[in-house]
């Protein structure tokens, strides 16, 4: 059974088609890597999954529930979108940590706000908040930052900030965790620590990763999708796509990368 099914997703900005008939599905615990040159539509696809962009066509199905259908997208209220979003987590290229909160507060914030909707919040407020705190602290130590919990984002290195962002996305236990070029904004010597953390998560979590790190994509992904000009050119087992690409465009792209 697949956790995520993407069917016929299409998206245009003004008159430019950025995504054309995108289809894929993802099983539980699987990792999908999306590769392709800049402007190929990878990031837009990820943003569509997270409801930051609204596709013009197609469906997004999570755990057999149709979360998005372009046919009746207009009828969706903001509240519904908010709930649907929680199926997905997103780690941004530029981290987007909240600068006025410590690492720990960044991870806790959304959970604390959501907890207010719980029926037992008033009676068990203290308990709930301390649970959230412990959970956030354990996530931060999972990404190797137990020593840095009380520091503010500007006091952390780029790699550490991105690891906080990963912990923050994990805090809401999304069904599918998305990464948008998580190491592109980092100095080369800092990418390793972030990739290690993502690799560690790949075993248990269902993930979609947009990346320019080809070696990493090859190691971590169960399926690789190569996109170009808004279409999926080639998809399949990473060894196949990287080792023996069938399409000319994939070959050209990979050659440019290996040089």
């Amino acid at each position: 059974m697949s956790v995520l099914e993407v069917k016929h997703i299409g998206k245009s900005f003004d008159n430019t088609e950025v995504l054309k008939d995108i289809n894929f599905s993802l099983g539980k615990g699987e990792t999908l890597a999306i590769i392709g040159s800049s402007g190929s539509g990878k990031t837009t696809l990820l943003r569509c999954l997270n409801f930051l962009e609204t596709p013009d066509q197609g469906q997004i199905i999570v755990n057999n529930e149709v979360l998005f259908d372009a046919q009746n997208a207009a009828a969706t209220t903001e509240r519904e979108v908010r709930e649907k979003r929680l199926h997905f987590g997103l780690v941004f290229q530029s981290f987007n940590l909240f600068p006025q909160y410590t690492a720990l507060e960044n991870v806790k914030l959304a959970c604390e706000l959501l907890a207010k909707n719980r029926p037992d919040y008033k009676e068990r407020r203290r308990e709930i908040l301390s649970e959230i705190r412990d959970e956030a602290a354990s996530l931060l130590s999972q990404v190797g930052l137990s020593e840095k919990m009380d520091l503010y984002p500007h006091q952390l290195s780029g790699g550490q900030q991105q690891r906080v962002a990963i912990a923050r996305a994990l805090a809401l236990s999304p069904d599918i965790l998305c990464f948008d070029e998580p190491t592109s904004a980092l100095d080369p010597e800092l990418t390793g620590e972030v990739l290690r953390v993502i690799r560690g998560l790949a075993e248990k979590n269902t993930m979609v990763i947009v990346t320019h790190e080809m070696q990493f994509a090859r190691e971590v992904a169960d399926t690789v999708v190569f996109m170009d000009s808004g279409v999926v050119v080639e998809a399949g087992d990473p060894e196949e796509v990287f080792g023996n690409p069938k399409q000319e465009r994939t070959k050209q792209f990979l050659e440019r990368y290996s040089n």
Binding site: E78, R85, S94, P99, Q100, L109, H154
Partner: protein, 219 residues
């Protein structure tokens, strides 16, 4: 004599402070409202607002004071600000609030537009409501961004209150100048500068304090 002068200057300065405080009270919230209008997606509101800001920032406050005080009377035949000191003061406050809310609206706009898109998006993907994003994520960043330009503008306001004397509001410059005619004394007028200096010194300390308070994070 010295005590008489000081007493009179104090009285004038109280009027100055009153005008200053009432202007802030009106212009700080009104400015925020106007900045939302300037950023409105509804074009007519946006362009009307931009036009108003252009006129208000493009003409001298002194002229605006005169126009706002005299025009209703000239057009309607009776001065609906009401005669006397009180009426002049109300007209002055109205003119100052309009003028300063336009300046403030531009400062707010700069602050709001300065918060990176990614901050809103990060809040959105974490399932926060628009209100939660505003109060829990962007507000403090916005405040941090606008404190320095606001400080500047507010200090200018303290000095601009002296323009009110053009329609005979008895603020401190007026009080100082009065001694030239009545007693042939020039120094009281010069001495009013000390009041402005001290008060602006205090404001500078306050704004410095706020900036320091917000220095625990960077935007």
């Amino acid at each position: 004599m010295f005590l008489t002068v000081i007493e009179s200057l104090n009285e004038g300065f109280l009027k100055t402070l009153e005008l200053f405080a009432l202007t802030l009270l009106g212009a700080l919230p009104l400015g925020l409202l106007l900045s939302f209008c300037t950023m409105s997606k509804f074009r007519p509101v946006k362009y009307l607002m931009k036009f108003i800001v252009w006129v208000v920032r493009g003409t001298p406050l002194m002229l605006q004071l005169i126009v706002i005080y005299y025009c209703p009377g000239m057009l309607l035949g009776n001065n609906w600000w009401g005669g006397g000191t009180a009426g002049r003061f109300i007209a002055t406050v109205v003119a100052f609030v309009i003028n300063y809310s336009c300046y403030f609206s531009e400062i707010y706009r700069g602050g709001i537009e300065g918060v990176p898109r990614g901050q809103y998006e990060a809040g959105q993907v974490l399932g926060m409501t628009k209100t939660q994003i505003f109060f829990r994520v962007t507000l403090l960043q916005l405040i941090k961004r606008i404190v320095p330009p606001m400080g500047n503008e507010i200090i200018t306001l303290v000095k601009d209150t002296s323009l009110a004397r053009v329609i005979s509001v008895y603020e401190i410059i007026w009080s100082g100048q009065a001694f030239i005619k009545s007693s042939g004394l020039v120094w009281p007028l010069f001495f009013t500068g000390v009041y402005y200096l001290v008060f602006n010194g205090l404001l500078t300390l306050v704004f410095g304090g706020v900036e320091k308070k917000l220095s625990f994070f960077r935007v």
